[in-house]
Amino acid sequence: MTINRKETHGRINRDKPIKFSFDGKIYSAFDGDSLASALLANGIHLVARSFKYHRPRGFLSAGSEEPNALVTFDRGQGRVTSNVRATTLEIFDGLVAYSQNNWPSLKFDIGAINDFFYMLFPAGFYNKTFMWPKSFWDKVYEPAIRKMAGLGPAPIDEDADKYASLYSHCETLIVGSGPAGIAAALSACEKPGRVILIDEQNEFGGSLLSTPNLTINAIPAWQWLKNSLAILKGRQNVTLLARTTVIGYYHDNFLGAVERITDHEKDINQNKARECLHRIRAGEVILATGAIERPLVFPNNDRPGVMLASAARSYLNRYGVVVGEKIALFTCHDSGYEVIFDLADAGISIACIMDVRDQVSDNIIAATKTRGLEIRTSTIVTNTSGKFRISSLHASRINDEKITSTEEIICDCLLMCGGWTPSVHLFSHSKGSLKWQENLGAYIPDTPNENTISIGACNGTFGLTDIMTEADSGQSKYTVDDMDFGSGIIAATFPTKSDPAKIKAFVDYQNDVTEKDINLAVREGLKSIEHVKRYTTTGMATDQGKTSNLNALQITAHAVAKPVQQVGLTTFRPPFTPTTFGALLGGKDGDTFHVTRKTPIDGWADDNGAIFEPVALWRRARYFPREGEDMLAAVNRECRATRESLGIFDASTLGKIEVVGPDAAEFMNRMYTNPWMMLKSGSCRYGLMLGEDGYIMDDGVIGRMAEDRFHVTTTTGGAPRVFRMMEDYRQTEWPELDVWLTSTTEQWAVIALNGPNARKLLEPFVEGIDLNPESFPHMAVREGRICGVETRLFRVSFSGELGFEINVPAHYGRALWEVLFKAGQQYDITPYGTETMHVLRAEKGFIIVGQDTDGTVSPMDAGMSWAIGKKKKDFVGKRSLNRSDIVAKGRKQLVGLLTDDPNIVLEEGAQIVADPNQPIPMDMIGHVTSSYWSATLNRSIALAMIKDGRALTDSDIYIPMADQTHKVRVSTPIFYDPMGERLNVL
């Protein structure tokens, strides 16, 4: 079927016929077609159902502004993309696409009943109707809306394609390759700098692809384009990127662009990225992004066959497709006539030409007469008919804003020309300011915020002569044979004889927003376009209102009787067109989505069946289940083994900072609450760090390796911010201190041995350190060798058992672990993970910063006043410890909790009340911060922050949960070995 083709027109490759499938039917087309042109060539106008009313829809445009013709593009499992604009989808042999938002079929769509119940769907419908009751939202409203209204289905399968990203740099970036962009590129390539020319289409040329009859320097447009591209391709300094959409324009001339690499290729190539995200930093940006034609807003202006005039021109000249056999034009702008002349000259029958204006220029009248056509001036379209395609229209003469007569005219296509809207999206992304241009009825660029210029139609410059002059910086190198672009009027609202409440004159086609909806919004008191937009959802669809925003603005201005400039302008936001998540990730998905830090011992844990958990960016072994064990069983076993004999734990993720220099002790004294000046070399101390606000920020054991050297450890998650805070004070507050800091987190592997047999296991492997308790007491640190490798050996305990933390250079970590694990078999050495570590420390009442504290806990609140150097004059946060609200009564304090029923393990985060019988909402006095089953104590234990909690020790409080209220006894947070005698095992 090629009945709708013009053999004399188009730049499709007629030597390459292809087949494609739409809604399961096979059609023919040619290489070079878009899905839209291919369907139109086959006489198909009905391609979609609208979002809200399920009205039949066809093609409005021939470009990326398309609001109606959204389809699902199916390349097989994992390669299904919905909401693709048929107007920009390049066709290839075997392409498969479906229509969307209809059931059971495009022609018989049950949802179309919405169209008859349109009175149920006024503006603000969703806001008003689905407010109450709240529980209805999840169960009733949301699923119903999802089923009835909507776009294509979200993909179910994992994306099978690969994506890529590239950084690029250039002196000149040109966006858009219409006549302005090409001319700018020809000028720029003469200069030494790098030039990148980008166009969203598969071919360069922009509007020139649809205007072959123009000549530039006496050369036909397509030949000039070919010559120009040959020049550009021959230049070493020029990069041409077709099929590439600049999606956003950011600070300092940084632009994001997505190149579609494989979507147009017949065969899937696993070795090629589907799309590439280009991050471009440009010296100068030349925007030549053109303009978008505006529809006209009249009743039933959305039937298939009603389209933009410029689209008909593209379909004819670029694709050789005739969009109708009897075509009507409704225009308020001279540019509509160029289209009608092209169509008439191709021998297509013109049904009628209707112009809102009462006068048209003599040139146009003459050119119209020459073609045997006539113009109906002062005429508007007041209705259209036709079920799946327009079949007739009502042409009404108007006089003084009143309809005087109406005539029905038969047609199968109605072209609209409502003037042009410059594409200022990118300029606006870059925070350039816009100004209102009355004669265009549109905003154009005003003051740029970046090194950028806008040229051609996107700058409000129309007519090829003016565009080419602007593009070559006024040098007028080009002589152009071009019809005068002419002018138009702004015609956003028209008189009607029908009941305004029953008219559907569409403004935003994609979101089904009508003129009536906007007027209703204004009547209901919404005066700013930002409010009208949110209330009606105009401009909020995936096309971001490319064809509708200016009409919505004009209608709103008309309704509030104010100049357009006073109604405001909604913000343009990236991306310019919908962008795949794959492209945005640029290949950084799956395992590379973010960093996973692994310790040197991680591989052993993996080999030995560890279950991991993320801790900050690390993955840590959480527990090591044996056959048939769940987490609780594994943790109980690990806890018991550690308390009874020996546990081994990978503590390598601890943050480590080496603080060195003559003023190291003074620096530590200022950073931490504890006193450091008198701490002897070879000793450790628990260090507590506050923010200046007096709240606990971090903690860790710190060893003094020498007079001028400290080995600082931090929490796993806190290491980067502790280091940054230390550097901040060192560099900016105390530059006079002679001290320097090095992050050594990844330099040391740390193996913690805990349990009564820890020393026995360690002793044979250690050289140069006497492990005897007298010479190596608790909280001591020594340097020596273990298995021949240098070590910093700490005698510390986070479990309450005899404990050692063995630091060795990271790359010896796993080897040492394996030696100790093998030798430890005689003590039934048990590897344990973070969960057991948490239980053991909770039994001892040791806090975990960030779990038991939340950034509003002072040392006094946590019962850690002992960690504050009372005689110190100053340290970070000291002054805040005297602030009135920090010393006030009623602050939450750390306590232990013992449930009345020892088998109940409380929920972490559960809220606590003093009286469970008080009316709701209850007065909550605190919350559970840590809660575990303690195998050692054979009962549950918990830590909590409770208002004045220490005074409540030994009294009962209550924890109301959904199923029952738990009675709980407040206790000391130290549940096990309060005297610390287990550290002294020999």
Binding site: Y250, H251, D252, F254, R281, K431, N449, E692, D693, R724, E727, D728, Q731, T732, E733, P735, K873, D874, K878, R879, S880, N882, R883, S884
Partner: protein, 94 residues
């Protein structure tokens, strides 16, 4: 994404190498204990939150790891200038 000139590296580098570090030229009091609660609260919590040119600190986190000062317009987001810690603050050009 802004380009930021690190005054230590003497190079313009992309914003992702840097992190923001709050308002500049707020010195920690030398004797905090001598301050009233009000003055200490002022130091801790009160910032100018300026619309327009703003003295602020940045950290060349993924570079030389130095903190430095900058004068930046909070409306346009653009940097007027950057300078080293300890250097006098540049005057705002009218």
């Amino acid at each position: 994404m802004l380009l930021i000139r690190c005054p230590y590296c003497q190079e313009e580098r992309p914003e992702i190498e840097f992190s923001y570090a709050g308002e500049a030229h707020i010195a920690r009091p030398l004797n905090p204990d001598d301050l009233s609660d009000e003055s200490w609260a002022e130091y801790l919590f009160i910032r100018s939150n300026r619309r327009g040119l703003h003295y602020e600190r940045w950290l060349h986190a993924h570079g030389c790891a130095q903190f430095f000062n900058a004068l930046r317009d909070t409306v346009s987001d653009k940097f007027e200038t950057t300078y080293k810690i300890g250097e006098a603050r540049p005057q705002v050009k009218k």
